[in-house]
C-alpha cells in the first residue's frame, strides 16, 4: 500500500491548478490551467479522477455550483483545496528544494 502522505507529481499539478484558480476551480479550468502553464495536454478523465480520489482522501472538497446562465448551461462541480493538501504540497516543495540544493543547473 502506498503511503497516504505523499503526493504524486500529477496530483501536485492538479492541486496547484486549483489553488491558482481559487473559486473558479473546476475540471475544464484546471485542464486549461495545466496546459497553459506546463504545455501538457491532460485529459478530463485524468484530472477528474484525480480530484475525486483526493476528495475521498480528504484533500479537497467539492460542491455543485450554480447553473451557468447560457441556454442549456448546467451546474459544474467546483473543488476547494483543504488545509491538509496545502500542507502536503508545502512538504513536497520543501523536499524537492532540499534535494536540489547543491545540484548545479547545466
Amino acid at each position: 500500500m502506498p503511503t497516504k502522505k505523499m503526493l504524486g507529481e500529477f496530483e501536485q499539478l492538479v492541486l496547484l491548478g486549483c489553488l491558482r484558480l481559487e473559486e473558479r476551480a473546476c475540471t475544464p479550468e484546471v485542464m486549461e490551467e495545466i496546459r497553459r502553464r506546463t504545455g501538457r495536454d491532460v485529459s478530463h478523465a485524468a484530472v477528474y479522477i484525480a480530484l475525486r480520489r483526493m476528495e475521498k482522501r480528504g484533500l479537497v472538497r467539492s460542491k455543485l455550483g450554480q447553473p451557468s446562465p447560457e441556454p442549456g448551461g448546467r451546474a459544474k462541480r467546483y473543488f476547494t483545496v483543504l488545509p491538509a493538501a496545502r500542507q502536503l504540497l508545502e512538504e513536497s516543495r520543501r523536499s524537492l528544494l532540499r534535494m536540489w540544493e547543491g545540484v548545479e543547473s547545466p
Binding site: 475540471t27 475544464p28 478530463h44 478523465a45 485524468a46 479522477i49 475525486r52 451557468s68 459544474k76
Partner: protein, 893 residues
C-alpha cells in the same frame, strides 16, 4: 426541431462510448462538462479539432474506466469492521490489477502493431459494415409504415382465376358489395390514380392525383400538418369537386411551404378547387409521386359497373379480426357475386394481402440477399479474428509456459489474456461504431430514388448491439480459451509441446481459414453474378434508338378537350409545331414511351379460322410518324398515315410477339381483332413492328398500336422528339411550343431517353454495388486469414525447414511445400464454398438478368481469383521459409 439539429453536438459514437463506460454517479456531470468544453472548442478552433478533442477525452475515460468505477464508489464512513475493510481492499486489488493488465495489454497491442491493426480493422469492418448495411436494409424492409397500427391495413384485389392474375384492380360495384357485406373490416376505401393538370400560382404543372372514396385519411389514421382533411359534405362527384388536400412535397415545391396556402384556390384540370390541407412528409400513399388527394362519390353509373376493373382497395381490419377471417368473409361475398352475375363475375375471386407486404414485395428478394451478405461478412470477420487470436495465443505459449514455470498463478495469466482480448474487442468495436455512424449516411447517399424509405435510415441500435456483442464474444472466446489450455497445470509438458510445435491447434486454425474461404467464395460468386447480370442489362438492345431522344409528358385535360376530334387536333398542332423547330429531326406521341411505367394490359380478341383467341396485350395510341422517330423497324405491312382518320376503317399494328401468339405461323397482315369485348368493332392489322423491350430487364411483351385519331379510349400522353444535337438542349424550346398552343397546358417529366434508361437500372446498380463492396471485404479478410495461417505455420516450422534444407532440400522445394500447403487449404475452402454457393445463389434467381445462378464462367472466375489471392498471401511467408538458414534454425531450438 430544426434548432436542435443545428446545435453543435459532439460525435455521437464517442458520446455513446462515454455513456457506456462512465460510472453512473458521474455520468451526467462529466458529460455536461465535456459537452460544454466541446462547444467552446468548436467556437474557438472549429469543428474538426473539437471533435478530435472529444474523441481523445472519451478514449481517456475508456482506458481509465476501472479506476473511475473504483473512485466513484461512495467512501465508507470511518473504518468499519475488519471484514468490510478487507473485502474493500480485495476489490481494490482486483481493480488495480485489472488496470495494470489493461495497461500491459495496451503496450502489447502497441508493440505488435501489425497484429493489432489487422484485428482492429477486421472487427471494425465486421461491426461497422454489418451495422450500416443492416440499418439501411432495416429501414426499407422492417420498419413499420408511418400509419396508425399499420399491420391492420390490408390491400384487397380481385383475383382472376382463369387468367392466373392474383392482383387485379377492382370493379366499383364489387367493391361496394365487399364493403357492405363483411364484419372483418372496420373500414374500406377505394381509390384510383390519374395525372391531372394543376394551374394557378405558377407554371401549369402535371401532378398525380388520387381520387378516393370517403374516409380515405381516416383509414390510415394520419392527420394533416396544415389545415384539415375532407368533411363528409365535401365529398361529391368528380367534375363537381371543390376541395383538395396536397402532399408535403407539392406544398414545399410549388407553394414554398407557406401556411397561407390553406384556403387558396387553384385549378385542377380547369376546375377551381380550394386547398384545405397539407399531409405530413411521411404520408405518401399510394406512392411517393402522389401530389394531390381528391375525395369523390361514385355516380350511380359508376357504382353499377362490374366490368371496368380500375379501383385499388385498402381496408383496415376490425379490432379482433384476422386477415384469414377477412379473406374468408370476402370469398363468401365473391362466391355469391359469381352466382348472381355470371356474365361479369365468372372467375372473379378476391385476395387480401397485408399492405406492408404489398409495398416491399418487389424489393424483398434483393433486400434478403443483401441481408444474408451482411451476415456472411460478420461471420467471416469473426472467423478471422478467432484465427488471429489463436495464432497469437500459439505464438505466446512459450511465454505462458515460462511464466507458469516461474510461479505465476493460472488465474492471473488467464485474466491477463482475457483483458487483452477485451481491450482488442473494445478498440475494434469502437472503430466499428465509428464506421457504422459514418457508413449509414454514405449508404443513404447511394440509394436509388425508388428506395425512398432508405433515405430515413439511421444507425439501428439493436443491430449495433448485436454486432458488437458478436465481435466481443468472438474476441473473448478465442482470446481466453487458448490461454486456459496453454496454462494447464503441467508447465513441463507444455514447454515440451511448444518445442515440438503443437499440431492440434494448427488444425483448428486451418479449419477456420477453410470456412472463411468458403464463405468468401459464396459472397464473391453472388457479387460476380450480379455484376455480370448488370453488365448484360446495360448492354441489352432495347430495340429502338436511344441517343438524341427527348421525352416529356403532355396530356391535355379532358375538361378542355373532351372528344377524340379535339384531342387529335391538339396533337396534330403540337407535332407540327415541334417538328418545325430547328434541331428537331422528328416528333411523335405515344400513350407511354418505352422504359416508362406502362399502363397495364387490355384484353384483345383475335379472330381465327375457328373461333376467337383471347390475349392480354399492352395497347398504345400513337401518331403516324412514331415508329420512324423511335427508329423501330416495320417488319411487314405499312405504318399509319393520314388516311387512317376517324372515318376510315379502324386499323392496328401489332408487334412480332403478338402476331406470333395470335396467329402462329401465319401472316398477320389483314387479320382482325377486337379490343375489350365482343360488342366492339373489328380492327384490321395493317402492319407488324419489330419487338422492343418496354423495360430493359424484361423480355418483349405483346403489344398493339392504334392511331390516336381512331382511339378515343386512351390517348397519347408522352411526346418523343428526335434531335440532331444534344436532346436536353431542346427541352425549353419544346415546352414553349406547347404553351404557344395552350398556355395552361402542363408539361411534365422532361427527360432524355438516355437518362430514363440510367434511372431504370438504378435498383440493380445499387444491389450490384453493395454486393461488390461486400465481396471485396470478404476477399480482403480471406487474404488476411490465409496470410496469418501461413505466416504462423512458417514461423513455427522453422526447425522443420531447417532440417529439410540441411538434408539437401533446395529453396524451390521449400517454396513449393509452402505453396502446396496453402493450396490444399484453399482448395478445401473452395470445394465447400462452391457447394454452398450452388445452393444459395438459387435464391438470387429473380435478381439475375440473362445469367444462370450457377453460371460456370462466374464460378470459374471467382475460384481463380480466390486461388490467386491465396497464393499471393502465401508468397511472403514462403519466401521467408526459403530464406531460413539451416544452421541458425537448428541451433535456436
Amino acid at each position: 426541431m430544426k434548432q436542435r439539429r443545428n446545435r453543435r453536438r459532439p460525435p455521437r459514437a464517442a458520446r455513446a462510448l462515454l455513456d457506456a463506460v462512465l460510472p453512473s454517479a458521474w455520468r451526467r456531470e462529466v458529460l455536461e462538462e465535456l459537452d460544454n468544453v466541446f462547444r467552446r472548442r468548436w467556437r474557438e478552433q472549429g469543428r474538426g479539432k473539437a471533435r478530435r478533442w472529444f474523441w481523445r477525452q472519451a478514449l481517456a475515460y475508456v482506458l481509465r474506466a476501472p479506476q473511475a468505477h473504483w473512485e466513484s464508489r461512495p467512501a465508507q464512513a470511518g473504518l468499519a469492521a475488519g471484514q468490510a475493510r478487507s473485502s474493500r481492499a480485495g476489490r481494490g486489488d482486483f481493480l488495480k490489477r485489472f488496470s495494470q493488465d489493461l495497461r500491459y495489454g495496451l503496450r502489447m497491442l502497441v508493440t505488435q502493431r501489425g497484429f493489432t491493426l489487422v484485428a482492429v480493422l477486421t472487427l471494425a469492418l465486421g461491426v461497422g459494415a454489418t451495422t450500416a448495411f443492416f440499418s439501411a436494409v432495416n429501414a426499407v424492409l422492417l420498419r413499420p409504415l408511418p400509419y396508425h397500427q399499420p399491420d391492420r391495413l390490408m390491400t384487397i384485389w380481385e383475383e382472376f382465376i382463369y387468367q392466373d392474375n392474383a392482383q387485379n384492380p377492382v370493379a366499383p360495384s364489387n367493391f361496394i358489395d365487399w364493403r357492405e357485406n363483411n364484419t372483418a373490416f372496420q373500414d374500406m376505401v377505394a381509390y384510383s390514380t390519374n395525372p391531372v393538370s394543376l394551374t394557378g400560382g405558377g407554371e401549369p404543372e402535371m401532378v398525380n392525383a388520387v381520387y378516393s372514396t370517403d374516409r380515405f385519411f381516416e383509414i390510415f389514421g394520419v392527420d394533416p400538418v396544415e389545415g384539415r382533411t375532407f368533411a363528409p359534405d365535401e365529398i361529391i362527384q368528380p367534375g363537381g369537386m371543390k376541395v383538395i388536400v396536397i402532399s408535403y412535397g407539392l406544398w414545399k415545391s410549388r407553394f414554398g411551404g407557406d401556411s397561407s396556402v390553406i384556403g387558396t384556390t387553384v385549378r385542377i384540370d380547369g376546375h377551381p378547387v380550394e386547398i384545405i390541407g397539407v399531409m405530413p412528409a411521411a404520408f405518401r400513399f399510394p406512392s411517393n409521386a402522389t401530389d394531390v388527394w381528391i375525395a369523390t362519390k361514385m355516380s350511380e353509373d359508376v357504382a353499377g359497373q362490374r366490368q371496368a376493373h380500375y379501383l385499388r382497395v385498402v381496408g383496415r381490419l376490425a379490432q379482433d379480426a384476422t386477415r384469414h377471417q377477412a379473406q374468408a368473409q370476402l370469398e363468401a361475398v365473391a362466391e355469391r357475386l359469381r352466382r348472381l352475375y355470371p356474365k361479369t363475375n365468372t372467375g372473379v375471386d378476391v385476395v387480401v394481402n397485408p399492405l406492408h407486404e404489398q409495398l416491399v414485395g418487389d424489393l424483398r428478394p434483393s433486400l434478403l440477399i443483401l441481408l444474408s451478405a451482411t451476415v456472411l461478412v460478420l461471420l467471416i470477420a469473426c472467423l478471422n479474428v478467432s484465427n488471429l487470436l489463436l495464432a497469437r495465443a500459439a505464438a505466446r505459449r512459450r511465454e505462458i509456459a515460462v511464466r507458469l514455470a516461474l510461479g505465476a498463478g493460472r488465474a492471473r495469466i488467464v485474466r491477463q489474456l482475457f483483458t487483452e482480448s477485451l481491450l482488442l474487442a473494445v478498440v475494434g468495436g469502437s472503430a466499428g461504431l465509428l464506421l457504422a455512424f459514418r457508413g449509414v449516411p454514405a449508404l443513404v447517399a447511394l440509394t436509388p430514388d425508388t428506395l425512398a424509405a432508405a433515405r430515413t435510415a439511421s444507425v439501428d441500435s439493436n443491430v449495433l448491439i448485436f454486432a458488437l456483442a458478436a465481435s466481443l464474444a468472438t474476441a473473448l472466446l478465442f482470446g481466453t480459451v487458448p490461454a486456459l489450455q496453454a496454462s494447464r497445470p503441467n508447465p513441463v509438458e507444455a514447454l515440451k509441446e511448444v518445442a515440438r510445435g503443437g499440431t492440434a491447434r494448427n488444425w483448428t486454425r486451418r479449419a477456420l481459414v477453410i470456412g472463411e474461404i468458403a464463405l468468401a467464395l459464396i459472397l464473391l460468386v453472388g457479387s460476380g453474378l450480379l455484376i455480370k447480370s448488370f453488365a448484360r442489362l446495360n448492354s441489352v438492345d432495347p430495340g429502338f434508338k436511344i441517343d438524341r431522344l427527348l421525352t416529356l409528358e403532355v396530356f391535355p385535360p379532358y375538361s378542355k378537350y373532351p372528344d377524340t376530334v379535339r384531342r387529335a387536333a391538339f396533337y396534330d398542332q403540337l407535332l407540327e409545331r415541334v417538328s418545325s423547330l430547328p434541331g428537331v429531326e422528328g416528333a411523335g406521341v405515344v400513350t407511354a414511351a418505352p422504359i416508362k411505367i406502362q399502363k397495364g394490359h387490355m384484353t384483345f380478341l383475335a379472330e381465327q379460322r375457328e373461333g376467337i383467341e383471347t390475349l392480354a396485350a399492352t395497347p398504345a395510341s400513337i401518331s403516324a410518324g412514331y415508329f420512324a422517330v423511335m427508329g423501330m423497324p416495320l417488319v411487314a405491312g405499312r405504318p399509319f398515315g393520314p388516311q387512317d382518320d376517324p372515318q376510315a376503317p379502324a386499323v392496328i399494328i401489332v408487334n412480332e410477339t403478338m402476331a406470333r401468339e395470335a396467329w402462329p405461323g401465319q401472316d398477320p397482315i389483314g387479320k382482325r381483332m377486337k379490343m375489350g369485348t365482343q360488342r366492339r368493332p373489328w380492327l384490321t392489322v395493317v402492319g407488324m413492328i419489330k419487338d422492343i423491350r418496354l423495360q430493359l430487364g424484361s423480355s418483349p411483351r405483346r403489344q398493339v398500336y392504334l392511331p390516336y385519331s381512331q382511339s378515343p379510349a386512351f390517348g397519347p400522353r408522352d411526346l418523343v422528339v428526335r434531335t440532331s444535337g444534344d436532346a436536353a438542349d431542346l427541352a425549353a424550346g419544346v415546352r414553349r411550343q406547347v404553351w404557344a398552343i395552350d398556355e395552361d397546358q402542363p408539361v411534365a417529366n422532361i427527360q432524355t431517353m438516355q437518362r430514363l434508361l440510367e434511372e431504370s437500372v438504378g435498383g440493380p446498380r445499387f444491389n450490384t454495388l453493395l454486393l461488390a463492396i461486400f465481396g471485396l471485404i470478404a476477399l480482403v479478410l480471406a487474404a488476411v486469414g490465409i496470410y496469418g495461417v501461413m505466416a504462423f505455420q512458417i514461423a513455427s516450422g522453422r526447425r522443420e525447414f531447417g532440417i529439410r534444407m540441411a538434408l539437401g532440400a533446395k529453396r524451390l522445394d521449400v517454396v513449393g511445400m509452402v505453396v502446396r500447403r496453402c493450396l490444399s487449404t484453399t482448395l478445401a475452402g473452395v470445394a465447400i464454398g462452391v457447394a454452398g454457393a450452388a445452393l444459395l445463389t438459387r435464391l438470387m434467381e429473380s435478381l439475375l438478368f440473362q445469367v444462370a445462378p450457377t453460371d460456370p464462367t462466374t464460378f470459374a472466375a471467382v475460384i481463380a481469383l480466390l486461388a490467386a489471392v491465396a497464393l499471393l498471401a502465401a508468397l511472403q511467408p514462403a519466401r521467408r521459409a526459403a530464406s531460413v538458414d539451416p544452421a541458425e534454425a537448428l541451433r535456436s531450438e
